[in-house]
């Protein structure tokens, strides 16, 4: 994997003991989009480089199947996510990658191990971690604006502040004019943007995204990649993004984590040092994807064997 080397010491007031080479290159590249998030994001990285925002410690999850046997879904998952980092998790379907997000969100309880946020174990749901679902999960009985302010309303934020923030976050996802629409009146891409605005409006530190763009057409997805990257760089959130699409993972992530098929384990991690913004069709993206795909393909074949009881390994071409 190619690494771009940058010399930051000349540009930024980094303390001498700072030693965090991986994260910052990705951040400076964001500068190319014309926006500079560094001022808001840097302190967290600079002064506490070792502290991880989200830590998964030996996470195991097993559950009873209908036939009564216990199935191990997640097997000793260990993962550290730094503040402001964009981590993508890929794996074959059935590897438990969505379940992992649910555990971090506190919607389910792991069998053993710990989910740590800022070093503290997670107890149930909390608005510091907001999950964005594949099927958006917006409330169809509420208007777009009411959806966005829902989390704030639950928190007891005053009406004036809610309105102000709702307007701000709707503008952030370019949906300022759709405050009074109902969800069914929006296109798939717009719905997903509302879901992002709704998640951001509770001002979470961590955004958990569960294949949020999987059901969208290619053009819409490309647009949302750009927007998500922009929002990420403007807000400095930590993002854990689950996808089955390796190119998407490389397009977006600072790091790609590959999970094995059942039981889900961390198979390998790939830092992505390509300059941003990246383009899905770029040769560099394709080359990086190739490397991950080779490993992923083994897992997909294993999943096919398990699911269709195929004796011989079928050849699988993984389209990005």
């Amino acid at each position: 994997m190619s690494t771009n080397t940058h010399d930051f010491s000349s540009q930024l007031p980094i303390p001498g003991d700072y030693a965090e080479p991986v994260l910052v290159p990705a951040r400076t590249d964001v500068k190319r989009t014309g926006k500079n998030p560094l001022t808001s994001v840097l302190p967290a990285h600079t002064f506490a480089p070792q502290a991880s925002k989200v830590g998964l410690k030996d996470i195991c999850l097993s559950y009873k199947t209908q036939t009564g046997e216990r199935l191990l879904a997640l097997d000793h998952i260990n993962l550290q996510v730094k503040p402001g980092e964009f981590v993508c998790i890929v794996g074959p379907s059935g590897c438990g990658k969505s379940t992992l997000l649910h555990l971090i969100a506190g919607l389910h309880q792991q069998t053993s191990g710990q989910v740590l946020v800022d070093g503290r174990p997670v107890q149930g749901t909390g608005t510091d971690r907001i999950l964005i679902f594949q099927e958006h999960g917006l409330f169809p009985w509420l208007k777009v604006g009411e959806n966005v302010e829902f989390g704030m309303k639950m928190k007891g934020v005053s009406k004036a502040e809610r309105e102000e923030k709702t307007a701000y976050y709707l503008r952030l996802v370019h949906l300022g004019k759709f405050k009074d629409s109902y969800i069914h009146q929006l296109s798939g891409g717009m719905r997903q943007r509302v879901a992002i605005a709704r998640a951001l409006a509770t001002e979470p530190d961590v955004l958990l995204m569960d294949e949020p763009f999987a059901a969208l057409d290619a053009q819409t997805r490309d647009l949302l990649h750009d927007e998500l990257e922009r929002i990420w760089s403007e807000t400095g959130r930590t993002i854990i993004f689950v996808t089955h699409n390796v190119r998407e993972a490389i397009r977006l992530g600072d790091r790609v984590v590959l999970l094995t098929f059942r039981p889900g384990r961390v198979k390998s991690e790939f830092p992505v040092d390509l300059p941003r913004p990246r383009v899905l069709e770029d040769v560099d993206v394709a080359r990086a994807a190739r490397e991950i795909l080779d490993e992923l393909r083994e897992e997909i074949n294993r999943s096919l064997e398990a699911e269709y009881n195929v004796g011989t390994k079928p050849r699988v071409e993984v389209g990005a």
Binding site: G126, I130, F133, F139, Y182, H184, Q185, T202
Partner: protein, 253 residues
């Protein structure tokens, strides 16, 4: 336009047939009165305030009884839907209880509450409670799970989760049950009112029978049907329309 025309033709035909049969005098007029004598009965009933009072009393009872059974039914239905033990035990009991006509609770209600308003309310509640409970249970199960997860994720829990998420999310699935519950409540009320001097529509209906006044009997029957129709149209139809508008459901008539 066309719909209105069909509507008009149907009812004009019905009216004509009724008039014809009455005019042929196959049955004596005191058993089969012509439409205008029923109209006359309606006019007089309203003029001497009998019907106004009866409608007022009956509506008051059915509203109180129905509201109680909606609240109770939602709590019960939600409990049965979310608790495996309750589902296995009470679920079957609820279904079997539904085969019991609500008026079968009348003797029990009389012994418990005496011959009064509370006995009638009890019968009304028992009449509609099961429909609402079963509808809520079903609605809670049919409701996409993602709404509950999203709600919890956004910081809703306990009563807030129920009020702001689970209830509105299940509304499209329970609205027909709520409607059925209303119909059962209305029916149970009229039945119960017929059994004692209650001032309500049921009693006025029985009074017609006691006075051998077929026109009055038919007039009150028409009133009971009309009120049921109006409530259905004003409350439930508009509720369904609003749900369809919000959720973007295709209008199913």
């Amino acid at each position: 336009m066309k719909r209105a025309a069909r509507f008009f033709i149907f009812y004009a035909g019905l009216f004509g047939l009724w008039t014809l049969l009455a005019e042929l005098k196959i049955w004596p007029p005191y058993l089969f009165p012509p439409p205008w004598s029923v109209g006359q009965a309606l006019y007089e009933g309203f003029k001497d305030h009998t019907y106004w009072i009866a409608i007022y009393v009956s509506m008051q009872r059915v509203l109180i009884g129905y509201l109680i059974s909606v609240v109770l039914g939602m709590v019960l239905g939600l409990g049965v839907a979310s608790n495996k033990f309750l589902e296995e035990t009470m679920g079957g009991l609820l279904v079997s209880l539904q085969s019991l006509p609500s008026i079968c609770w009348w003797p029990l209600a009389l012994l418990w509450f005496g011959l009064n308003q509370n006995a009638i309310l009890f019968v009304v509640i028992m009449g509609s409670l099961l429909s609402v409970t079963l509808a809520m249970e079903d609605g809670r199960k049919q409701m996409p799970k993602i709404f509950g997860m999203a709600g919890r994720n956004l910081g809703a829990s306990g009563f807030k989760l129920f009020w702001y998420v689970l209830l509105p999310a299940s509304l499209p699935f329970i609205v027909s049950g709520l409607k059925q519950g209303w119909a059962f409540a209305w029916r149970s009320l009229i039945t119960a009112e017929m059994l004692y001097l209650s001032l309500g529509l049921g009693q006025v209906l029985m009074m017609g029978r006691d006075l051998n006044d077929m026109s009055a009997v038919l007039a009150v029957m028409i009133l009971i049907i009309a009120i049921g129709y109006v409530v259905d149209g004003l409350v439930f139809k508009s509720m369904e329309r609003r749900l369809q508008h919000k959720w973007g459901l295709t209008s199913a008539s």
